[in-house]
């Protein structure tokens, strides 16, 4: 039997300390009340329009692809001591990642030291030679980082946290973290008087602080905007939400233009200079003059302004070089190299299929491993060995052999579970956690993050595009 770890149940009959109050409360709630609350939550989400779009999916009538992300009523609770350690680990990790990106685009000390292979950096599709020698305010590249963390069961029944991946380009999901909390407070106000739960509602304030802190030198009252690809993007709701919460303009590429080496937005009062762009547009689409010439989502000439230091892009261009799955295995070494510290957070052991020995091992153990595309995201293009049929494994073997360097493999972790409402009642489902780390003058974060849950029984894929849901995340204050 595979080991398992449940966030709430220590054994089938006993509940972990930090869930004790909640468990007592839950046992007093009639089942039909909980069901009614669940319907209420769904109705409110739908009415408020908290949706996301599924690429390539069509509804039965062939039109809309807007979906609700299923929201689960049972929170994921983290004791304060665990969070304190995780927070330290996140701070350390994101600081080292920012140092790494700066290094890649400047002296490349870590490459010269033979710690990170040069080809892993230069062959990386996310490496942007255009960024060589460009100085960004404070040397910070990834202002908003989403670090995916899971807890995996150890053979002795305890659990350990692991970083699954770093998202340093345009991590999304923070709006669900905020809306989930609002929803819980609305549905179950009594729970919030029975627990001391660390607040998260100030995230937009921290985000705005961070963005203002990295404005170009000499700008005292920076104008911040959120740049969205538009309403067809899967995270459009979040773009609009964050702009509204911060009280800044939401713009599309066509609203911006470059003149005399500054960026302006068109407003009803005439052009207004823009100092900081929180962009939710991928690098490739930012400036058709330098990157994809067919992009209509960006603003021509933006890179020239950026190089001159007259605008800040957040996150910086070229951060993807550090969140690539082939760079991930080197993050613990980066922490040691740049900070001289031992990594606080664990990395998952990883096989790089580009290495002949690793590839051989992976091919021999496909049925046990999780194999991922190096540049993949959103749960697309991956194989979960133990959950796949022989035919699926063989099909994947072909793709893997055709281009081994495009894949990495990791052991199938026994992800921790958390009790979740499903059709048959309350049952354990696998979860992960995405804390959002903000780096400006200092590194800040709100306690917790977004907990995603794989709603299908036994499934390990929590991505919302693959049928995952979310939960409120509570960090208990000591």
């Amino acid at each position: 039997m595979r080991p398992s770890f449940d966030e709430m149940q220590a054994t089938t009959t006993t509940v972990r300390d930090h869930y004790r109050t909640y468990d007592r409360w839950l046992s007093q709630q009639p089942r039909d009340v909980m069901r009614a609350r669940r319907e209420e939550a769904e109705m409110i989400f739908r009415r408020v329009g908290i949706t996301f779009a599924v690429y390539g999916a069509k509804d039965e009538d062939g039109s809309g692809t807007e979906r609700l992300i299923p929201f689960d009523l049972i929170p994921r609770v983290i004791p304060s001591a665990e969070w304190r350690e995780m927070e330290q680990g996140l701070r350390q990790r994101v600081t080292a990642l920012n140092r790494f990106i700066h290094d890649v685009y400047h002296g490349q000390e870590i490459i010269k030291a033979g710690i990170v292979p040069a080809d892993q950096v230069f062959r990386n599709a996310q490496y942007r030679p255009e960024m060589q020698g460009v100085d960004v305010p404070g040397g910070v590249y990834s202002h908003i980082s989403g670090i995916d963390i899971v807890r995996a069961a150890n053979p002795d029944g305890s659990g350990s946290y692991y970083v699954l991946e770093d998202n340093l380009r345009v991590p999304s999901g923070v709006s669900y973290m905020l809306e989930n909390r609002k929803m819980m407070m609305r549905l179950f106000p009594d729970l919030f008087s029975a627990h001391r739960i660390a607040p998260v509602a100030h995230y937009p304030d921290l985000l705005l602080d961070t963005l203002r802190a990295v404005a170009p030198a000499g700008v005292n009252e920076p104008t911040v905007v959120v740049l969205t690809p538009g309403m067809y993007n899967s995270a459009y709701f979040e773009h609009a939400f964050l702009a509204q919460q911060m009280g800044v303009e939401l713009v599309e590429g066509q609203d911006l233009f470059v003149k005399d080496n500054f960026v302006y937005m068109r407003t009803t009062q005439g052009p207004k200079r823009v100092d900081v762009i929180y962009r939710r547009v991928d690098d490739d689409f930012l400036d058709p003059l330098v990157f994809r010439p067919d992009s209509t989502l960006g603003c021509a000439g933006l890179l020239s302004v950026y190089r001159a230091g007259n605008v800040t892009l957040s996150n910086a261009i070229g951060t993807g070089v550090a969140d690539d799955k082939s760079i991930y295995p080197y993050v613990p070494k980066m922490i040691e190299f740049y900070l001289g510290e031992k990594p606080i957070l664990n990395n998952v052991p990883t096989w790089l299929c580009r290495e002949d020995e690793d590839l051989k091992y992976v091919l021999d153990h496909l049925g046990e491993l999780v194999v991922k595309e190096v540049h993949g995201a959103g749960g697309y293009g991956m194989l979960v060995g133990p959950a796949s049929t022989q035919a699926e494994i063989e099909e994947f073997r072909g793709a893997l052999l055709a281009n081994p360097s495009n894949y990495i493999a990791q052991p199938t972790l026994a992800l921790s579970t958390c009790p979740t409402f499903v059709e048959s009642g309350i049952a354990p489902r696998h979860i992960d956690l995405r804390p959002f780390v903000l780096s400006g003058k200092t590194v800040q974060m709100v306690p917790g993050g977004l907990t995603r849950v794989a709603l299908k029984e036994g499934s390990l894929v929590v991505n919302s595009s693959q049928g995952g849901g979310t939960k409120d995340t509570w960090v208990l204050e000591a």
């Binding site: 490349q108 490459i111 010269k112 033979g114 292979p117 040069a118 080809d119 892993q120 230069f122 062959r123 030679p129 255009e130 060589q132 020698g133 233009f257 470059v258 003149k259 005399d260 080496n261 058709p288 003059l289 330098v290 010439p293 021509a300 000439g301 020239s304 190089r307 001159a308």
Partner: protein, 296 residues
């Protein structure tokens, strides 16, 4: 060995737009590069209409990149780059004295703790030069076991020149390499990309060179292909050769010497496109390019 020569280049680009362009941003790689073998004695870039903003700086490969933008409405754009350079001939070299290609490829491959090889950057596939099994198959006959890298590269250049047909306008810049390889025809950019891809598929390091060719050949010689427009060729990393890089022109089956003016080095065409831009407005456009390279 002959004395250095002076070459004069005039590169004129004209765009005519069917409707006014209200905002234009352009980036140009039109200034010849400078190194031990090539000195720029004079360079002038004139743009009509007068740009409202112009800035230049060096890119990551050391090329001079010039940005300019025009914010007043215009229906034509004329970019004239005039350069005078002094080019020294390539010293004689012995291809057989370069290292065997496998040894070089092995050195360029990553090894834990080994010193960083800057040339390794040009071993990686790039947007216009993907990694293709067919390129490796094409390259192999020129690189039998133990072949010195320069000998193999020269042989590969001879084969491309022999087996591919130069056909003006037979391809566009976005024609994929597979098609060039299948149809055995193309223009100088295609041959450069093809040869770069073939070398990289063996783990060797190769750069794309953008530049010009002497329009009027020395007396008694036939004019070269690609002389009436901007030209492209290949630079192969060959330790043991002066400068460490050997420039080869597969379009003309030539070792580059004093007949070529070098503008810029990059991973492929996309890094060093001589002139490109993004405009707002403009409707349809026509393009005229004129290049004239003469002995000054």
């Amino acid at each position: 060995m002959t004395a250095p020569v002076r070459l004069q280049v005039e590169h004129e680009t004209r765009y005519h737009y069917s409707a006014p362009v209200e905002l234009a941003h352009h980036v140009a790689f039109l200034r010849p590069l400078e190194d031990a073998r090539q000195q720029v004695e004079a360079f002038e870039l004139s743009v009509e209409p007068q740009p409202s903003h112009q800035a230049s700086g060096d890119d990551v490969f050391g090329n001079r990149r010039i940005f300019f933008s025009a914010t007043s409405a215009h229906q034509s754009l004329r970019v004239l780059a005039t350069s005078r350079v002094r080019v020294s001939p390539r010293p004689a070299f012995d291809p057989a004295a370069t290292p065997p290609w496998e040894a070089l490829a092995g050195r360029l491959r990553y090894h834990g703790g080994a010193p960083f090889e800057p040339a390794a950057e040009f071993c990686a596939p790039s947007p216009y030069v993907p990694r293709l099994a067919a390129l490796r198959d094409y390259a192999r006959p020129s690189f039998t076991a133990g072949t010195p890298v320069a000998v193999g590269a020269l042989e590969l250049m001879h084969r491309i020149h022999r087996e591919f047909r130069y056909e003006t306008a037979s391809t566009a810049i976005d024609t994929p390499l597979q098609q060039v390889l299948a149809e055995r025809r193309g223009v100088c950019q295609d041959f450069a990309h093809l040869m770069i891809g073939a070398l990289r598929s063996l783990g060797l390091s190769a750069r794309y060179v953008s530049g010009y060719l002497l329009t009027t050949p020395p007396e008694g010689q036939a004019p070269l292909q690609g002389a009436d427009a901007s030209h492209a060729w290949v630079s192969v990393h060959c330790p043991g050769i002066e400068g460490g890089w050997l420039d080869l022109d597969p379009t003309n089956d030539l070792v580059v010497s004093t007949g070529h003016v070098r503008l810029a080095y990059g991973r492929d065409y996309g890094d060093v496109t001589p002139l490109r831009g993004v405009i707002r407005g403009g409707g349809r456009h026509t393009l005229e390019v004129r290049v004239r390279t003469t002995r000054a």
